[in-house]
């Protein structure tokens, strides 16, 4: 059955593509029309050659386009120079017996070049390769050359492939749309075809139809179709913005969630949190360098390997900071803020001394690259994975907080530190573990951020203020608040950007948050308590 269909298709394409027989003296006359220095003659020669279906005419026209075509004025014979510089007779494809003498190149000006492009375009419309036919149709769509109309009409009626046929029809509609002598009904139909195509190019084309170049009902249908496209594009860009906002929100969630835990439990601001993120990113870099050197085949596994390592590295550094510095400063949150700022400076400089001040190259594994196109709505796999990953981290932390004994103790300390201590919870241990956990999560965030941002000693700095805002906005000690805070900040950022520009959007957002804190000084999800000072 399959074979039969293939056979029929083959026969069809043979009948479609086989050139009409052209007699030898005709072909010589046809070719000699190019052997001149009159641009008008060359132009008409090209069109004649293209519609003749003469075998090898595509090679000749391509040679002309590349400036490799010459002629001998004495007998008007055409010669083609191939890539190696050898000459070939255009009429016979044969290598001439002796090197031809006295050749003159066939010259091209802009008008000739246009005719040439159109001719080549209409010739590839008949190419046996469907991809080439589509490319040719798209080229016609862009050039809108009225000369190709006849060729298009011919191929549309014979095209079997539905996709290719649609491209042909789009191209034909594009040509007809602006062809002032085309029948009105055809142009109205063309407007509808373009409206159905619905992309930016069609919109530009449709909006160039005005009273000046078209009758009233053509203009009406064109503007109707243009409105439809605009609606569709607006919808698409909203969806795209929402997606970018979601993606930014998930990045903020990753960066802020560790901060939210330490802030919630210990009531301190860890200014070195951004540097924990940076350490995670550098851990990824080191893991990748190691894999590149020792086992390149494992490269796709570099991120899964880096995640636990980054958690350990950042977690251990966090534990050290807590044991050495922060535990001496409890009850003095403002001093803790200053001391951790000092830690962040030292860590930044240490990384700069070890790895250099320049950005480090962190590669993307194969599953992180590529784009998933959903009818104009583009989803990059890298962003998709980061969203999935940050939600996974969020859920894991939720399980830790709600389902484990450590989480229970943490929540107890968040709610009432002294009461928790009175119930036998060793709050210093909880503090140390909380800080290590928060720092470790920051390290994990660093692994993800290494995929979308420059890995440099300043990586953490660029996220720290946003992370604070997420925590302050969402309220402390509440993971759901952090989730909501991160996503709404991400979405607000991306929706403000097109309205006000990237920088102004950010400023507006900062102003909104500063005002928001006035209304709800303890964030969206404040813990309810009766203490005067919480």
């Amino acid at each position: 059955m399959m074979r039969a269909i293939l056979l029929i298709l083959g026969l069809l394409s043979c009948s479609l593509l086989s050139p009409l027989p052209v007699r030898a003296d005709d072909s010589a006359a046809l070719l000699s029309r190019l052997a001149t220095d009159n641009y008008g003659d060359i132009e008409s020669g090209i069109t004649a050659l293209a519609s003749s279906g003469l075998a090898g005419s595509e090679i000749i026209l391509n040679a002309l386009a590349d400036g490799r075509l010459s002629y001998r004025p004495s007998d008007k014979a055409l010669f083609i120079k191939d890539a190696s510089g050898a000459w070939m007779e255009a009429a016979t494809n044969a290598t001439p017996a002796s090197v031809p003498m006295g050749l003159k190149p066939v010259k091209v000006n802009n008008r000739v070049r246009r005719a040439l492009e159109a001719a080549l375009g209409s010739m590839t419309l008949m190419s046996p390769d469907p991809l080439k036919r589509i490319a040719a149709a798209d080229a016609v769509f862009k050039s809108r050359d009225a000369n190709t109309l006849a060729a298009l009409d011919a191929v549309i009626s014979k095209e079997a492939d539905a996709t290719v046929k649609r491209h042909f029809e789009d191209a034909r509609a594009a040509v007809l749309m602006l062809k002032s002598d085309a029948p009105e009904a055809d142009r109205v139909a063309a407007a509808n075809t373009l409206g159905a195509r619905g992309d930016q190019d069609s919109l530009a084309l449709l909006s160039s139809v005005t009273e000046a170049n078209a009758p009233a009902n053509v203009v009406a249908s064109a503007s109707l179709a243009a409105k439809g496209i605009e609606r569709r594009l607006a919808l698409l860009s909203t969806a795209q913005n929402a997606w970018y906002g979601l993606s930014l929100g998930s990045v903020l969630l990753l960066a802020a969630i560790g901060l939210a835990i330490t802030f919630g439990v210990m009531g301190i601001i860890n200014m070195a949190h951004g540097e924990m993120v940076m350490l995670g990113a550098y851990t990824t870099f080191v893991v990748q360098e190691f894999i590149r050197a020792k086992a390149p085949s494992l490269f796709d596994w570099s991120l899964p390997i880096a995640i636990p390592l980054a958690f350990c590295v950042s977690g251990l550094v966090g534990l050290l900071i807590e044991r050495l510095i922060i535990r001496h400063l409890y009850g003095r949150p403002l001093e803790t803020l200053l001391a951790t700022w000092g830690v962040s400076l030292v860590l930044q400089q240490a990384v700069r001394s070890i790895f250099g001040a320049n950005n480090r190259e962190v590669g993307a594994p194969s599953y992180m690259t590529g784009v998933w196109d959903l009818g104009g709505f583009q989803i990059t796999y890298g962003r998709l994975w980061i969203i999935v990953f940050s939600l996974a981290v969020f859920l894991a932390l939720l399980v830790v907080m709600k389902g484990t004994s450590l989480g229970l103790r943490m929540r107890a300390v968040i709610q009432n530190r002294r009461m928790a201590a009175a119930m036998g919870i060793r709050t210093p241990v909880i503090d140390a573990l909380t800080f290590a956990l928060g720092s470790g999560v920051a390290g994990i965030a660093g692994v993800a951020l290494s995929q979308i941002d420059n890995v440099s000693p300043n990586l953490g700095q660029s996220y720290i203020i946003d992370s604070f805002l997420v925590v302050v906005f969402g309220g402390v000690g509440n993971l759901w608040g952090t989730l909501l805070g991160a996503l709404s900040l991400g979405l607000a950022n991306k929706f403000l950007e097109p309205l006000a520009g990237a920088v102004l959007g950010k400023i507006v957002l900062l102003a909104i948050i500063i005002l928001f804190i006035q209304r709800r000084p303890r964030g969206l999800f404040a813990l309810k308590g009766r203490a005067v000072e919480s």
Binding site: G267, I325, P333, L338, G342, V343, P521, E533
Partner: protein
Amino acid sequence: MIAFLFRRFDKTATGFILALALIAVLVPVFNLVVSETSAFHIPNYLVALWGKYLSYALLAVALDLVWGYCGILSLGHGAFFALGGYAMGMYLMRQIGARGVYANPILPDFMVFLNWKELPYTWYFFDHFAYAALMVVLVPSLLALVFGWFAFRSRVTGVYLSIITQSLTYALLLAFFRNDMGFGGNNGLTDFKDIVGASIQSPSTRAALFALTAVFLALGFLVARALVTSRFGQVLAAIRDAESRTRFLGYRVEHYKLLVFVVSAAMAGIAGALYVPQVGIINPSEFAPANSIEAVIWVAVGGRGTLVGAAIGAVLVNFAKTWLTGTSPEFWLYGLGALFILVTLFLPKGIVGALAARFGQRGEGDAA
């Protein structure tokens, strides 16, 4: 008024004022009068450098007023400093006149470069020194008034307040980076020529600016001291130590905070205005949150709640910064980081506080 400023003077304060008066006279003398070949000659660059330190010291005193005495840890005081600096910078830009690269008598070079035709209304009247001087005080004060009114009224305190002051300066940083704002974008304002008719490059102007900075530092110190030693200052300390209790005693806590915040912002603005002509440039990086935090460490090193300590801390830390960035640049950040950690851990009262405790004096912060 004078009597009010010099009330309850003690040895430290007298010494500080005398020292300032001394260097305000001696540094210009050793710079201008003593011949350049003499070993006692102070070169021009040192005058400008020390002038910069003194304007930082004024910023530190302003910060100490809110942090040391009222417990408001502002991580955005650099914003007030930079706003004062921009107001002065705008005056200096207008003084360039037709001597700019594009020789436009009205528009500063960067506006000609951006193809602007008219002066933005924000730049009107800045060719008058009096107006610019007014703006140096007014703009930071107004910002502090509006910001503080919102923040203190809704009882944003502690680390929350620190974070939103940081966001404030960050937002201004982003805003001033924009060319559309009309303040020179990321290049800022520079290439100044004259200040009140005198060439800004000449040694005598430099020396005068230095002396003026010392005088303003002394004035700022006196105002701050008068505030904190008065009844008002006692309420401030009460707010710092137990805000709710003070409120329950019937004091309008937010009014006290707001007043001291606005005074401090005005002082920071003046410090910025003195800083710009001596450094010769103002650009948006002055708004960077890191700058504001660095100012906090000056206060912490010198001793918060001592005023004198804040000024000394600013000079010491910046001297160390100049020295370290000159000899081993990569070591500076280690040094600064270590300073933050060590001072908070081992020297919570700063140098002056530790010395006072050692020699049996009560720190001034405790006196209130």
